[in-house]
Protein backbone atom coordinates (compact mmCIF):
# COMPACT_ATOMS: atom_id res chain seq x y z
CA UNK A 1 0.00 0.00 0.00
CA UNK A 2 2.94 2.40 0.01
CA UNK A 3 1.93 2.88 -3.64
CA UNK A 4 -0.29 5.70 -2.36
CA UNK A 5 2.69 7.82 -1.38
CA UNK A 6 4.15 7.56 -4.88
CA UNK A 7 0.78 8.12 -6.57
CA UNK A 8 0.47 11.30 -4.52
CA UNK A 9 3.84 12.46 -5.82
CA UNK A 10 2.67 11.89 -9.40
CA UNK A 11 -0.47 13.98 -8.82
CA UNK A 12 1.56 16.76 -7.19
CA UNK A 13 4.22 16.79 -9.88
CA UNK A 14 1.61 16.80 -12.66
CA UNK A 15 -0.24 19.70 -11.05
CA UNK A 16 3.00 21.63 -10.58
CA UNK A 17 3.80 21.02 -14.23
CA UNK A 18 0.32 22.23 -15.24
CA UNK A 19 0.79 25.43 -13.25
CA UNK A 20 4.26 26.01 -14.72
CA UNK A 21 3.17 25.36 -18.32
CA UNK A 22 -0.09 27.31 -17.80
CA UNK A 23 -2.24 24.29 -18.62
CA UNK A 24 -5.88 24.79 -17.65
CA UNK A 25 -6.74 21.09 -17.79
CA UNK A 26 -4.64 17.96 -17.88
CA UNK A 27 -5.91 15.33 -20.27
CA UNK A 28 -3.34 12.55 -20.02
CA UNK A 29 -0.30 11.71 -17.97
CA UNK A 30 2.01 8.85 -18.97
CA UNK A 31 3.51 7.18 -15.91
CA UNK A 32 6.34 4.69 -16.26
CA UNK A 33 6.38 1.82 -13.76
CA UNK A 34 9.80 0.20 -13.66
CA UNK A 35 9.85 -3.56 -13.34
CA UNK A 36 12.46 -3.50 -10.54
CA UNK A 37 10.22 -1.70 -8.04
CA UNK A 38 7.28 -4.02 -8.77
CA UNK A 39 4.60 -1.43 -8.06
CA UNK A 40 1.14 -2.97 -7.74
CA UNK A 41 -0.58 -1.63 -10.86
CA UNK A 42 -4.10 -2.01 -9.51
CA UNK A 43 -3.47 -0.24 -6.23
CA UNK A 44 -1.45 2.46 -7.98
CA UNK A 45 -4.07 3.25 -10.57
CA UNK A 46 -6.83 3.18 -7.92
CA UNK A 47 -4.77 5.59 -5.80
CA UNK A 48 -4.23 7.92 -8.77
CA UNK A 49 -7.96 7.97 -9.55
CA UNK A 50 -8.88 8.65 -5.91
CA UNK A 51 -6.27 11.36 -5.45
CA UNK A 52 -7.19 13.08 -8.73
CA UNK A 53 -10.78 13.43 -7.47
CA UNK A 54 -9.60 15.98 -4.90
CA UNK A 55 -10.54 19.63 -5.07
CA UNK A 56 -8.24 20.20 -8.03
CA UNK A 57 -10.21 20.98 -11.16
CA UNK A 58 -7.34 20.78 -13.62
CA UNK A 59 -6.68 17.10 -13.01
CA UNK A 60 -10.19 15.76 -12.31
CA UNK A 61 -10.71 14.38 -15.80
CA UNK A 62 -7.15 13.32 -16.46
CA UNK A 63 -6.39 9.87 -17.83
CA UNK A 64 -3.37 8.09 -16.42
CA UNK A 65 -1.60 5.73 -18.78
CA UNK A 66 0.64 3.29 -16.95
CA UNK A 67 3.59 2.17 -19.02
CA UNK A 68 5.57 -0.93 -18.09
CA UNK A 69 9.35 -0.62 -18.32
CA UNK A 70 11.42 -3.81 -18.15
CA UNK A 71 14.42 -3.55 -15.83
CA UNK A 72 17.87 -3.63 -17.40
CA UNK A 73 21.28 -3.67 -15.78
CA UNK A 74 24.86 -3.20 -16.85
CA UNK A 75 27.80 -4.33 -14.76
CA UNK A 76 30.39 -1.63 -14.14
CA UNK A 77 33.05 -4.20 -13.33
CA UNK A 78 32.78 -6.52 -16.36
CA UNK A 79 30.36 -4.67 -18.70
CA UNK A 80 27.89 -7.58 -18.79
CA UNK A 81 24.31 -6.53 -19.57
CA UNK A 82 21.50 -8.47 -17.92
CA UNK A 83 17.82 -8.44 -17.01
CA UNK A 84 15.83 -9.07 -13.84
CA UNK A 85 14.76 -12.55 -14.98
CA UNK A 86 18.21 -14.02 -14.38
CA UNK A 87 18.59 -12.60 -10.87
CA UNK A 88 17.72 -14.52 -7.71
CA UNK A 89 16.16 -12.89 -4.70
CA UNK A 90 13.98 -13.99 -1.81
CA UNK A 91 10.44 -12.67 -1.30
CA UNK A 92 11.66 -10.55 1.59
CA UNK A 93 14.47 -9.07 -0.51
CA UNK A 94 12.00 -8.34 -3.29
CA UNK A 95 9.85 -6.47 -0.78
CA UNK A 96 12.79 -4.35 0.37
CA UNK A 97 13.64 -3.51 -3.25
CA UNK A 98 9.98 -2.60 -3.72
CA UNK A 99 10.33 0.06 -1.00
CA UNK A 100 13.78 1.32 -2.04
CA UNK A 101 14.95 0.03 -5.44
CA UNK A 102 18.59 0.91 -4.69
CA UNK A 103 18.67 -2.03 -2.31
CA UNK A 104 19.07 -4.08 -5.47
CA UNK A 105 22.76 -3.35 -4.87
CA UNK A 106 22.59 -5.09 -1.51
CA UNK A 107 20.80 -8.21 -2.73
CA UNK A 108 21.52 -8.66 -6.43
CA UNK A 109 24.82 -9.21 -8.18
CA UNK A 110 26.15 -9.42 -11.70
CA UNK A 111 25.44 -12.93 -13.00
CA UNK A 112 28.87 -13.07 -14.63
CA UNK A 113 31.34 -11.62 -12.11
CA UNK A 114 29.17 -11.35 -8.94
CA UNK A 115 29.84 -7.63 -8.52
CA UNK A 116 27.17 -5.46 -6.82
CA UNK A 117 28.58 -2.50 -8.75
CA UNK A 118 26.12 -2.48 -11.62
CA UNK A 119 24.07 0.28 -13.17
CA UNK A 120 20.28 0.13 -13.32
CA UNK A 121 19.98 1.32 -16.93
CA UNK A 122 16.19 1.04 -17.20
CA UNK A 123 13.05 0.12 -15.31
CA UNK A 124 14.02 1.34 -11.83
CA UNK A 125 10.83 2.88 -10.45
CA UNK A 126 8.12 5.46 -10.99
CA UNK A 127 8.60 8.37 -13.38
CA UNK A 128 6.45 10.63 -15.53
CA UNK A 129 7.06 10.21 -19.26
CA UNK A 130 4.71 12.85 -20.60
CA UNK A 131 1.96 15.24 -19.57
CA UNK A 132 -0.74 16.34 -22.02
CA UNK A 133 -3.19 19.15 -21.43
CA UNK A 134 -4.90 22.25 -22.79
CA UNK A 135 -4.05 25.86 -22.15
Amino acid sequence: MHEWALAESVIKAAREHAAGAKLRVLSEVGVVLGELQAIDRKIFSFALAELAKGPFREIGRCRFRLIKAPAAFKCRACAKEFTLKVLKRTGREGEYIHFIPELAHAFLKCPKCKSPDFEITAGRGVSIKYIKGEQ
Binding site: M1, L6, S9, H17, Y96, L103
Partner: protein, 269 residues
Protein backbone atom coordinates in the same frame (compact mmCIF):
# COMPACT_ATOMS: atom_id res chain seq x y z
CA UNK B 1 9.31 16.40 -22.46
CA UNK B 2 12.18 14.85 -20.53
CA UNK B 3 11.17 12.14 -18.04
CA UNK B 4 10.08 13.85 -14.84
CA UNK B 5 10.90 12.54 -11.38
CA UNK B 6 7.66 13.03 -9.41
CA UNK B 7 9.08 12.18 -5.99
CA UNK B 8 10.70 15.48 -4.91
CA UNK B 9 7.37 17.28 -5.32
CA UNK B 10 5.89 15.46 -2.34
CA UNK B 11 8.81 15.77 0.08
CA UNK B 12 7.88 19.11 1.61
CA UNK B 13 4.35 17.80 2.23
CA UNK B 14 5.81 14.77 4.01
CA UNK B 15 7.79 17.08 6.33
CA UNK B 16 5.06 19.67 6.79
CA UNK B 17 3.94 18.36 10.19
CA UNK B 18 7.42 18.72 11.66
CA UNK B 19 8.42 21.65 13.87
CA UNK B 20 12.21 21.74 13.75
CA UNK B 21 14.60 19.70 11.64
CA UNK B 22 18.17 19.27 12.85
CA UNK B 23 20.87 17.56 10.84
CA UNK B 24 23.72 16.28 12.99
CA UNK B 25 26.79 16.55 10.81
CA UNK B 26 30.53 16.44 11.12
CA UNK B 27 33.26 16.07 8.64
CA UNK B 28 34.92 12.94 9.84
CA UNK B 29 33.83 9.46 10.75
CA UNK B 30 33.91 8.10 14.28
CA UNK B 31 33.58 11.45 16.04
CA UNK B 32 30.20 10.76 17.63
CA UNK B 33 27.61 12.05 15.15
CA UNK B 34 25.42 8.97 15.49
CA UNK B 35 25.52 8.77 19.29
CA UNK B 36 24.85 12.50 19.45
CA UNK B 37 21.91 12.30 17.04
CA UNK B 38 20.44 9.21 18.72
CA UNK B 39 20.88 10.46 22.27
CA UNK B 40 19.51 13.89 21.34
CA UNK B 41 16.41 12.20 19.91
CA UNK B 42 16.01 10.13 23.10
CA UNK B 43 16.48 13.18 25.32
CA UNK B 44 13.88 15.17 23.37
CA UNK B 45 11.39 12.30 23.49
CA UNK B 46 12.09 11.92 27.22
CA UNK B 47 11.23 15.61 27.70
CA UNK B 48 7.88 15.03 26.05
CA UNK B 49 8.61 16.21 22.53
CA UNK B 50 7.30 14.18 19.65
CA UNK B 51 10.56 13.21 18.02
CA UNK B 52 11.71 11.44 14.88
CA UNK B 53 15.16 10.16 13.98
CA UNK B 54 16.19 9.68 10.35
CA UNK B 55 19.42 7.84 9.61
CA UNK B 56 20.80 9.07 6.29
CA UNK B 57 24.16 7.37 6.65
CA UNK B 58 23.38 4.46 4.34
CA UNK B 59 26.89 3.08 4.36
CA UNK B 60 27.30 3.28 8.12
CA UNK B 61 23.73 3.17 9.43
CA UNK B 62 23.97 3.04 13.21
CA UNK B 63 21.08 4.94 14.82
CA UNK B 64 19.17 1.65 15.03
CA UNK B 65 22.09 0.13 16.92
CA UNK B 66 22.21 3.00 19.42
CA UNK B 67 18.45 2.70 20.02
CA UNK B 68 18.49 -1.10 20.05
CA UNK B 69 15.78 -1.23 17.39
CA UNK B 70 15.41 -4.97 16.98
CA UNK B 71 12.44 -6.70 15.43
CA UNK B 72 10.67 -3.50 14.36
CA UNK B 73 9.62 -2.51 10.86
CA UNK B 74 7.77 0.46 9.38
CA UNK B 75 4.03 0.10 8.96
CA UNK B 76 2.76 0.24 5.40
CA UNK B 77 -0.04 2.76 5.33
CA UNK B 78 -0.25 5.09 2.33
CA UNK B 79 3.50 5.21 2.65
CA UNK B 80 5.69 3.95 5.46
CA UNK B 81 5.10 4.94 9.07
CA UNK B 82 8.31 4.79 11.11
CA UNK B 83 8.18 2.40 14.08
CA UNK B 84 8.51 3.91 17.53
CA UNK B 85 11.54 2.86 19.56
CA UNK B 86 11.81 4.24 23.11
CA UNK B 87 9.42 7.02 22.15
CA UNK B 88 11.37 7.95 19.01
CA UNK B 89 10.01 7.40 15.51
CA UNK B 90 12.92 5.86 13.65
CA UNK B 91 13.51 5.57 9.92
CA UNK B 92 16.63 3.88 8.66
CA UNK B 93 17.77 2.01 5.59
CA UNK B 94 18.75 -0.76 8.01
CA UNK B 95 15.09 -1.86 8.07
CA UNK B 96 15.41 -2.81 4.42
CA UNK B 97 18.94 -4.11 4.16
CA UNK B 98 18.76 -7.00 6.60
CA UNK B 99 22.30 -7.67 7.71
CA UNK B 100 23.70 -6.82 4.28
CA UNK B 101 25.98 -3.93 3.43
CA UNK B 102 24.51 -1.35 1.07
CA UNK B 103 27.18 -0.59 -1.56
CA UNK B 104 25.85 2.52 -3.30
CA UNK B 105 27.45 5.00 -5.63
CA UNK B 106 26.69 8.68 -5.18
CA UNK B 107 23.81 8.97 -7.63
CA UNK B 108 22.20 5.88 -6.10
CA UNK B 109 22.53 7.32 -2.61
CA UNK B 110 20.69 10.37 -3.84
CA UNK B 111 17.95 8.28 -5.42
CA UNK B 112 17.49 6.24 -2.26
CA UNK B 113 17.31 9.36 -0.08
CA UNK B 114 14.65 10.89 -2.32
CA UNK B 115 12.67 7.63 -2.24
CA UNK B 116 12.85 7.41 1.55
CA UNK B 117 11.82 11.05 2.01
CA UNK B 118 8.94 10.66 -0.46
CA UNK B 119 7.40 7.58 1.15
CA UNK B 120 7.97 8.19 4.87
CA UNK B 121 4.88 9.43 6.69
CA UNK B 122 6.24 11.16 9.81
CA UNK B 123 2.94 12.65 10.88
CA UNK B 124 3.15 15.41 13.49
CA UNK B 125 6.53 15.86 15.14
CA UNK B 126 8.14 18.56 17.25
CA UNK B 127 11.62 17.59 16.10
CA UNK B 128 13.19 15.48 13.42
CA UNK B 129 16.84 14.67 14.04
CA UNK B 130 18.86 13.52 11.05
CA UNK B 131 21.99 11.43 11.49
CA UNK B 132 24.23 12.40 8.57
CA UNK B 133 27.13 10.57 6.96
CA UNK B 134 30.53 12.28 7.30
CA UNK B 135 31.51 15.03 4.91
CA UNK B 136 29.85 17.20 2.33
CA UNK B 137 28.74 14.53 -0.07
CA UNK B 138 25.57 13.41 -1.77
CA UNK B 139 23.55 13.19 1.42
CA UNK B 140 24.62 16.66 2.54
CA UNK B 141 23.95 18.24 -0.84
CA UNK B 142 20.56 16.50 -1.05
CA UNK B 143 19.69 17.74 2.40
CA UNK B 144 20.43 21.31 1.37
CA UNK B 145 18.39 20.90 -1.82
CA UNK B 146 15.44 18.91 -0.50
CA UNK B 147 15.15 20.09 3.12
CA UNK B 148 16.39 23.68 3.02
CA UNK B 149 14.96 24.42 6.45
CA UNK B 150 17.10 21.79 8.18
CA UNK B 151 19.54 23.35 10.64
CA UNK B 152 23.01 21.99 10.96
CA UNK B 153 24.38 20.86 14.32
CA UNK B 154 28.03 20.08 13.81
CA UNK B 155 30.03 17.65 15.91
CA UNK B 156 33.79 17.88 16.17
CA UNK B 157 36.53 16.49 18.37
CA UNK B 158 39.43 18.21 20.10
CA UNK B 159 41.95 17.72 17.34
CA UNK B 160 43.64 20.25 15.10
CA UNK B 161 42.78 18.13 12.11
CA UNK B 162 39.10 17.87 12.97
CA UNK B 163 38.97 21.62 13.54
CA UNK B 164 40.66 22.39 10.29
CA UNK B 165 38.21 20.29 8.29
CA UNK B 166 35.35 21.71 10.32
CA UNK B 167 36.32 25.28 9.63
CA UNK B 168 36.38 24.77 5.87
CA UNK B 169 33.09 22.90 5.92
CA UNK B 170 31.31 25.50 8.00
CA UNK B 171 32.49 28.22 5.65
CA UNK B 172 30.96 26.21 2.80
CA UNK B 173 27.67 25.76 4.61
CA UNK B 174 27.62 29.46 5.30
CA UNK B 175 28.17 30.24 1.64
CA UNK B 176 25.32 27.86 0.76
CA UNK B 177 23.19 29.73 3.31
CA UNK B 178 22.49 26.64 5.38
CA UNK B 179 21.35 27.68 8.85
CA UNK B 180 23.65 26.40 11.60
CA UNK B 181 22.70 25.76 15.22
CA UNK B 182 26.31 25.58 16.26
CA UNK B 183 29.15 23.23 17.04
CA UNK B 184 29.42 20.62 19.78
CA UNK B 185 32.85 19.44 20.75
CA UNK B 186 32.74 15.75 21.62
CA UNK B 187 35.20 13.62 23.60
CA UNK B 188 36.62 16.64 25.37
CA UNK B 189 39.29 15.40 27.81
CA UNK B 190 38.95 16.16 31.54
CA UNK B 191 40.32 19.61 32.52
CA UNK B 192 43.68 18.31 33.80
CA UNK B 193 44.45 16.58 30.54
CA UNK B 194 43.46 19.38 28.22
CA UNK B 195 47.06 20.18 27.39
CA UNK B 196 47.45 16.79 25.68
CA UNK B 197 44.87 17.73 23.08
CA UNK B 198 46.13 20.82 21.33
CA UNK B 199 42.87 21.84 19.74
CA UNK B 200 40.71 21.18 22.80
CA UNK B 201 38.00 23.74 23.51
CA UNK B 202 40.37 26.10 22.10
CA UNK B 203 42.11 28.26 19.66
CA UNK B 204 40.31 27.04 16.55
CA UNK B 205 37.09 28.42 17.92
CA UNK B 206 38.71 31.63 19.10
CA UNK B 207 39.09 32.51 15.46
CA UNK B 208 35.36 32.27 14.80
CA UNK B 209 35.40 29.36 12.36
CA UNK B 210 33.07 29.75 9.45
CA UNK B 211 32.59 33.38 10.40
CA UNK B 212 30.15 32.80 13.25
CA UNK B 213 28.28 29.78 11.92
CA UNK B 214 30.67 27.65 13.90
CA UNK B 215 29.87 28.95 17.35
CA UNK B 216 30.79 26.39 20.01
CA UNK B 217 27.57 25.74 21.94
CA UNK B 218 28.87 23.13 24.31
CA UNK B 219 31.13 20.20 24.89
CA UNK B 220 30.67 16.57 25.79
CA UNK B 221 33.27 14.69 27.80
CA UNK B 222 34.70 11.32 26.91
CA UNK B 223 32.46 8.83 28.70
CA UNK B 224 33.91 5.37 29.34
CA UNK B 225 30.41 4.14 30.27
CA UNK B 226 28.87 5.04 26.90
CA UNK B 227 29.80 1.92 24.97
CA UNK B 228 27.94 -0.54 27.18
CA UNK B 229 24.80 1.63 27.18
CA UNK B 230 24.48 1.54 23.41
CA UNK B 231 21.40 -0.38 22.35
CA UNK B 232 19.65 0.28 25.66
CA UNK B 233 17.81 3.61 25.55
CA UNK B 234 17.03 3.72 29.29
CA UNK B 235 20.72 3.23 30.12
CA UNK B 236 21.82 5.60 27.39
CA UNK B 237 19.70 8.36 28.93
CA UNK B 238 21.55 7.89 32.23
CA UNK B 239 25.09 8.18 30.87
CA UNK B 240 27.41 11.12 31.51
CA UNK B 241 27.29 11.59 27.73
CA UNK B 242 23.52 12.14 27.88
CA UNK B 243 23.90 14.48 30.86
CA UNK B 244 26.38 16.68 29.00
CA UNK B 245 24.27 16.67 25.84
CA UNK B 246 21.14 17.32 27.92
CA UNK B 247 22.67 20.51 29.32
CA UNK B 248 23.32 21.78 25.82
CA UNK B 249 19.82 20.79 24.76
CA UNK B 250 18.14 22.61 27.64
CA UNK B 251 19.71 25.83 26.44
CA UNK B 252 18.79 25.51 22.79
CA UNK B 253 15.57 23.55 22.56
CA UNK B 254 12.58 25.28 24.08
CA UNK B 255 9.57 23.37 25.25
CA UNK B 256 6.37 24.42 23.54
CA UNK B 257 3.51 25.47 25.88
CA UNK B 258 1.20 23.10 24.17
CA UNK B 259 1.92 20.71 21.43
CA UNK B 260 1.82 22.09 17.94
CA UNK B 261 4.52 21.50 15.39
CA UNK B 262 4.74 25.06 14.17
CA UNK B 263 5.25 26.56 17.63
CA UNK B 264 8.60 25.01 18.32
CA UNK B 265 11.28 27.57 18.96
CA UNK B 266 14.84 26.81 18.15
CA UNK B 267 17.10 29.47 19.50
CA UNK B 268 20.74 30.09 18.93
CA UNK B 269 20.89 30.55 15.20
Amino acid sequence: MKALDPRPSVISARLSGIGGIIAVTGWKGGIGKSVTASTLALLLADRGFKTGLLDLDFAGASAHVALGADGVFPKEEKGLEPPEVAGVRLMSVSFFSGKKAVPLRGANVSDAIIELLAITQWGKLDFLIIDMPPGINDAALDLIRLIPRAKVLAVTTPSVMAHSVLERSLALYKRLKVPALGVIENMTPPPGQAAKAPGAAGPAFGGRPGGGAGRLIGSIRFDPGLEEALGRPDKLLKTAFARDLGKIMERYFKKPDNYSGSRIKLSGI
